[in-house]
């Protein structure tokens, strides 16, 4: 993870967002974001509602449909030694070259990808046929799927069930195993367990982590839940109002958060066994139709200086692999 090996995915200067109806303008949900995904890592993207984390992974996956628009930026993905730029591909090309085998996606709401009138087995057969060619017979496919299910510990009856017959947790396990069946290099998971009970969530995350490690793949976990990041990610990126404000190893971010937003967020979280009075953030996130000038966090920041209201801070590297976007750390650049 920390070697000098070239990243698996390089996200460069992405600007994307939503065209707001009534010509009220363009909501820039993701604003010049740059991020690397390394091999064999679990990286978390954390932040609160409206920070752009979901939009970012949608763009990374290349699922860009109206009203979502990618304005500029590049995404490079490694595939068999080549570097492909996928932001300029159309959806057909992505489907052929990228989806399932290189990048796959686990959405928050499993029902959005499961067809309610099709049995679970037919969902799997469809993926296998699309990816492995139509010469695969249904019988062979079912055989392969059944042994795959056994490997990952899903009961066989699930194959013959319709989506609505399964519990929310089981549906999410199905969607997860669909995303993993073609052994993708990178899995993008958008709040994969939000809304599930904590025990079920724990079991599903354990499944995902185990599969990712076994395949030697990488996982991008999008979640608002800092606790979940602490339980499973190697590195984290913290987003606020469309920007990445901080990147680093999870251990460093949790033990020594650099950005004032990260500090306030971590401070606000109640923990079991600790009753010390805590304070939440004041104010609310900015309206992204007209974000504040300078640093987007400055109206809520207890350390805001004059420069913060005028100049937007860039990401600076304070230590190798440790990035923060805040004027407090000017002059602490490691290099760049």
């Amino acid at each position: 993870m920390s070697t000098k090996e070239e990243p698996l995915v390089m996200v460069r200067n992405i600007i994307g967002g939503y065209v707001v109806s009534g010509s009220r303008g363009f909501l820039e949900a993701v604003s010049r974001v740059t991020l690397d995904i390394h091999s064999n890592e679990i990286i978390g993207i954390a932040g609160e509602s409206g920070c752009g984390k979901s939009t970012l992974v949608k763009i990374m996956y290349g699922f860009i449909r109206k009203p979502l628009v990618l304005t500029s930026g590049k995404i490079y993905v490694k595939k068999d030694g080549d570097l492909l730029e996928i932001a300029s591909m159309d959806e057909d090309e992505r489907r052929k070259k990228i989806w399932w085998r290189v990048l796959s996606y686990i959405p928050q709401n499993s029902m959005s990808v499961l067809n309610p009138v099709k049995r679970i087995k037919d969902h799997f057969i469809e993926i296998l046929k699309a990816q492995g060619g139509n010469y695969i017979t249904n019988k062979d496919a079912i055989e392969a799927i059944a042994s795959y299910m056994e490997e990952i510990g899903l009961p066989r009856e699930v194959l013959y069930a319709y989506p609505h017959q399964l519990s929310g947790g089981m549906r999410q396990r199905v969607v997860t195993s669909m995303a993993l069946i073609m052994r993708p290099r990178v899995v993008l998971a958008d709040e994969p367990t939000t809304g599930l009970d904590v025990v079920v969530q724990r079991g599903i995350i354990q499944n995902i982590v185990e599969s990712i490690r076994r395949l030697g793949s990488s996982l991008v976990l999008v979640s608002h839940d800092i606790g979940l990041h602490a339980m499973m990610t190697d590195r984290m990126a913290i987003m606020y109002a469309g920007k990445i404000v901080e990147v680093g190893r999870t251990i460093d971010i949790l033990r020594k958060p650099l950005h004032p937003y990260t500090q306030a967020l971590l401070e606000s979280l109640p923990r079991l066994g600790d009753k010390k009075p805590r304070e939440g953030l004041r104010g609310m996130p900015p309206n992204l139709l007209s974000p504040p000038p300078g640093c987007r966090f400055h109206p809520r920041c207890p350390f805001a200086m004059d420069i913060c209201k005028k100049v937007e801070p860039g990401l600076v590297e304070t230590e190798p692999g440790r990035l923060v976007s805040c004027h407090i750390y000017r002059g602490e650049e490691h290099r760049r």
């Binding site: 509602s49 025990v199 606790g227 999870t250 306030a264 606000s268 979280l269 923990r271």
Partner: protein, 331 residues
């Protein structure tokens, strides 16, 4: 004795029917008892989806009549109140729900709601008095008049509107507020602000709370007492420290261990493999202990008879593991 309780829920059973043609019923609440004494407390009812916690909240609020058992509010059965008593109950017991946008008419200015509440339920004699009362309530929830005046609900953020909902609940000077998942729709960094308001209302105004939640970290932060629910049963209840720091019931243990926390020391244990259930959940209709099919310690007796409450370290726990070790606890 009974009259010293603010709320006394006794052996309540609430059934729901499901299935279109066949009359299946299941017990959303299956013999639930709990009480709040006459001193301000924050009482958490925690459980996962389907545990019955929201049904319990609605039963306590007088919105859902149980089939069996009763709910006493200051000694009076809330489902047998006279018209005058209903008015009194509506003033003394307030509710806060998960989605504040659903609790307000989207077209009406929120300030007019607050004024009306002050006029109707807080004995304000005229508009000036009502404005005073509203101003004090807004101060407690940390809002300025400028934040709310002339605003419709959609012009406020979720956190602000939830504060307005709390202000409205506080205006009649209630004795009890039932708050059903009041912070689960809010961003994590704002939740603790709302929880602090609850604490302050308890301490400064003597309001008691039923805090209904699935989130054990916030429950630990604000509550004095907690009841853990599982499939219509309370399976463990007692002082918050007793239950959360030394959980007795295997389900409570599993639940607490599974909460993801921003604490790396917890990671190794959290990632220890757990078993997930099968495709269907049949626990509602089974006999014996409802948790036994998921319980790592289940033995023969657990599938035959439902366990009774036993007292373990000052906490009432419903589990056969603790049979005969102590006398039967007053439930």
């Amino acid at each position: 004795m009974k009259h010293e309780m603010v709320v006394d829920v006794r052996d309540v059973e609430k059934r729901f029917r499901y299935g279109v043609f066949f009359g299946f019923t299941f017990k959303a609440l299956d013999g639930v008892s709990l009480y709040i004494e006459n001193k301000p407390v924050i009482y958490t009812v925690a459980g996962e989806s389907g545990s019955g916690k929201t049904t319990l909240a609605r039963v306590i609020l007088g919105m859902l009549k149980p089939e069996r058992g009763y709910v006493l509010y200051r000694g009076r059965d809330i489902y047998r109140l006279s018209r005058k008593e209903i008015r009194w109950f509506r003033k003394e017991v307030q509710a806060i729900f998960q989605n504040p946008y659903a609790s307000f008419n989207p077209l009406r200015k929120v300030y007019s709601y607050l004024l009306d509440t002050a006029l109707n339920l807080a004995n304000a004699h005229n508009k000036e008095e009502a404005q005073d009362i509203v101003a004090r309530a807004l101060e407690i929830v940390g809002l300025n008049l400028d934040d709310v005046i002339n605003k419709t609900p959609s012009e406020l953020s979720g956190g602000q509107l939830q504060r307005v909902a709390i202000a409205r609940a506080l205006i009649p000077k209630p004795k009890l507020i039932v708050a059903d998942e009041p912070v689960s729709m809010l961003d994590a960094s704002l939740r603790v602000n709302i929880l602090n308001i609850f604490k302050e209302a308890k301490e400064r105004m003597g309001v008691s709370f039923f805090y209904i939640t699935h989130d054990l970290s916030t429950a630990y932060y604000i509550s004095d007492i907690i009841a853990i629910m599982y499939r219509g049963w309370i399976i463990e209840k007692g002082p918050i420290e007793g239950v959360m720091e030394k959980p007795s019931h295997p389900y409570t243990q599993m639940l607490i261990e599974s909460v993801p926390e921003p604490d790396l020391d917890k990671r190794e244990k959290w990632l220890l493999r757990i078993k997930l259930g099968g495709i269907e959940e049949r626990e509602f209709i089974e006999q014996g202990c409802k948790f036994r099919s998921r319980c790592p310690f289940a033995f023969e007796k657990c599938s035959k008879e439902p366990p009774e409450f036993k007292l373990e370290n000052g906490v009432a726990v419903r589990c056969w593991l603790y049979e005969d070790r102590y006398n039967k606890a007053p439930s």
